[in-house]
Amino acid sequence: MEFLLEINVEEMPSSHVRTALDDLKERLGRELAAAKIAVSSLSAWSTCRRLILIGDFAESQAVREGLVTGPPKSAAYAPDGSPTPAALGFARSKGIDVAQLEVVTTERGEYVGFRTVQQGKPTAEILAKAVPLAITSLSFPKMMRWGTGTLKFSRPVRNILCVFGGHSVRFEIDGLISGDTTTGHKIRDPRPIRAASIEDYKSALRDALVIVDPDERRRMILDQIAALLAPLGAALYPDAGLLRKLANDVEYPFVFLGSFPEDYLTLPIEILSTAMREGLKVFSVVRDGRQLPYFLGVADTRADAKGFIRKGNERVLKARLEDARFFWNQDIKTSLKKRAPALKHVLFQEKLGSYDDKAQRLKKIAAYLAKRNEGEKIAKDLGLAAELCKTDLVTDMVREFPSLQGKVGGLYARAEGLPDTVASAIYEHYLPQSLEDESPATLAGALLSIADKLDSIIGVVGVGIQTTGSSDPFGLRRNAQGVCKIVIDRKLGFSFPRLVDKVIAVYGDRLKRPKAEILDYVRDFFVGRLKYLHERRDIRYDLIGAGLGAGLENIYHVHLRIKALDALKASPQFEPFILMTKRVNNILAGQPACALNADLLVEKEERDLYSAFGIVKENVGPLISHGDFAQAQKIVFRLQPALNVFFEKVLVMAKEAPVRKNRLALLQAIRKILLQMADYSQVVVEGEKPGAGR
């Protein structure tokens, strides 16, 4: 039977709508499962003013059949087949006639008993309790109250429609009684609408200018955009976030094309599109990466017959662009170098000093990074970029559009004629802003970005600010992920612990936490981020663990290790090899380190293993230092036959201590090589529990 729920609210933010629907679905699904009500489907629609669940549930709880057993058959009936006092007593105690008893066969033998059938409660009755409970237990990042009510929610709840099988399901939340009516578009067509079925509801609302399915609204927006752009041969400056927001914020999307005077096109595209996106929430229009003097807006209506909506938006945009041009012209009167001293008055963090202090540190860290990443040629430009990269914080443009920090600095650097390397590095040094975002395209940008992010992470950690659960006020997770992404994208192979050391040293005595503690914390923090980053690539968690288990000396190598494991996991040699390594680990567990003496190897099998090991070691060494873990791994697989025979024919735990120790030493040497590749003990093999050996 059809289920329809609409919670009518005042305009909710799109992020709240998404989480509320997920939560509602999950909570209601759980309640229905607990009540044993069959659910054929349960899905969601929404607008900023409506949270909608639609579903198909059984009419009532499943019929519950039971069996009540009494005494054994042998004790229940006399030889003549008549019921004994035991049977009579059982029947009486259960309130049934003795004739209703039957013989049932159980695991323990034959007993007498009777079957019960319990009719289920109607689903509507369950819903009348479960739905209000699900609604009132929703939680949002910021909750509010309104009027004189007690309910806390994202925005005020104004009406609740709840219908099951064509009848309204009645309940009360904070003085609001649910029913089977809602209203059309708040401004265009606010008439009351009665809905008995999902189809009725959807089509009646469509007539009242509400498209309830967000995917349909999204398609409408994209179709209209395509139709408007085709004649211009133009494209949309892509902005998934804005599209999501607008598809949420309108109930009936109408896309309009507006324009602005061409003379504003002298402003860089970044500034134009940000003024449009952030100021006006409209899309900018480009052709071949160049801004055109047009924009696309999405209105909550069917048409703009008189052109008021377009003209109004054009007027607002023109004012915004006028402002932006004013800022640009003002800002470029003062060079970035002249602005630098003003950074002394801009606080980075109370205990970590000003942005001027940060710039001084970045110069040193960047110089260190340049030396270790083949950046000698750009070292001088990188130093200048480090010195100037934060100066745009004191420009009017960044005050107006904070999201353009870095980019504005880069644009101004170019405008005042600083070298390209400097301008690009400044422009790119906040990249990547997310894992979907691009890494810096230039080496200088990449190194400056790493320096900046690591300076923030180590500083914040070093003064004892904790990053936990939802609390990450300095965006340290995003910063650490950014560092990892750059390292991987640009294949940078520097020593991570030494860089951390360097940054701590540059901070000097500002950091109050002991150095060892900072190192530990930062290492664990990066391990967590590297796990997350690789899990997003759908790599098995145990392979990630194994790759990370070989140490965090070189972040790029960690990535290559994990990739190699992932590439080889399907190879037929992989699992037998893993089992073999586990066998090696088990036998070595708890053994002290032993010294290997080749002269003491007597048996043929152990000499064979030793020579195989020698060859493997020689070949693998250079491969590992170049990060070619896949090839190294394949070579290590070749130890497998020799190890097999060794375990078969040779008694490792020999009675004579020197022989035993020597064999252990050989295995220890092998394990050492293996550990340079991965911590294989973390790999889970079919039929095995994590970490368990044979």
Partner: protein, 282 residues
């Protein structure tokens, strides 16, 4: 419609909804929210409905009269309805219709924008109301003021009068607006914007401003000790304005900013506590 007719229309509309019309408050404030007609009405259990025009000073927004959109003093039309009725959004929409705006021809959006004023320890949840892309109103359900939870919950509707008038007159330049049929905004405010921009950014004496701040802060403390929270609140407003001027003069460092805001907030919190004492805390 001239700006003064806009004001008259809004006054008529909200008076008809039962609001008392408060006179403009006679101290410099940054927003209509800060005057006693909002600050004290939203605290405590008693229902209130009030509407008033409040000139609002934002010294840093001064542009020497050269920017067609920004001014260091603009005018707000402030409405408080407490408790917020279920149809408060519809009432607001009706107020626009009452101004002669035919919403069938326009695009009205309630765009997520939660409001916060750290100085007076207040925050709320709500929207910027956008009319064809122009922000004409801030619509907020107050949740806290003076650091105290408020209950019942008031709705606060703040119309930006110049913005709304620019929409109604379809003008691109604030100075072209008609204040009345024969007086323009330029006649009344251009000189003011030029002179006050010069004062705010260049001439205001930092030393005297710091002294004013300190004096008002001290006075507020003394008044609070005597239970005179209304004049104490006026002193907080004086602190706030001195702070805004110092900010425009570029005389406040980041740490100092945090410290001064906290100083004012602490006083405002004590004022709020004194105010709700006899009425009973919510």
């Amino acid at each position: 419609m001239s700006l003064q007719n806009l004001i008259l229309n809004l006054q008529k509309f909200w008076a008809d909804q039962g609001c008392y019309l408060a006179p403009t408050y006679d101290l410099e404030v940054g927003a209509g929210t800060m005057t006693p007609d909002t600050f004290f009405r939203v605290l405590g259990p008693r229902p209130w409905k009030v509407a008033y025009v409040q000139p609002s000073r934002r010294p840093t927004d001064g542009r020497y009269g050269e920017n067609p959109n920004r001014v260091q003093k603009h005018h707000q039309f402030q409405v408080i309805v407490k408790p917020s009725p279920a149809n408060i959004q519809a009432m607001y929409i009706d107020s626009l219709t009452a101004l002669g705006i035919d919403l069938r021809d326009h695009d009205l959006k309630f765009d997520e924008d939660d409001w916060e004023s750290p100085t007076i320890g207040a925050w709320g949840v709500g929207w910027s109301v956008m009319l064809d892309g122009l922000e004409i109103t801030q619509f907020t359900y107050f949740q806290q003021a003076g650091g105290l939870d408020v209950f019942p919950i008031p709705a606060e509707i703040t119309y930006g009068l110049e913005r709304l008038e620019m929409f109604l007159e379809e003008k691109d330049n604030i100075y072209d607006l008609q204040w009345s049929d024969d007086v323009t905004y330029r006649d009344l405010h251009l000189k003011e914007e030029r002179q006050f921009s010069e004062y705010n950014f260049v001439q205001a004496t930092v030393k005297s401003l710091r002294e004013s701040f300190a004096l008002a802060e001290k006075e507020a403390g003394q008044l609070l000790g005597k239970g005179l929270f209304l004049p104490a609140y006026d002193m907080c407003l004086k602190c706030s304005h001195a702070f805004n001027l110092l900010d425009a003069r570029g005389a406040i460092s980041v740490t100092e900013r945090v410290k001064m805001i906290a100083q004012i907030r602490t006083l405002v919190n004590q004022v709020a506590l004194k105010f709700v004492e006899p009425e009973g805390r919510p």
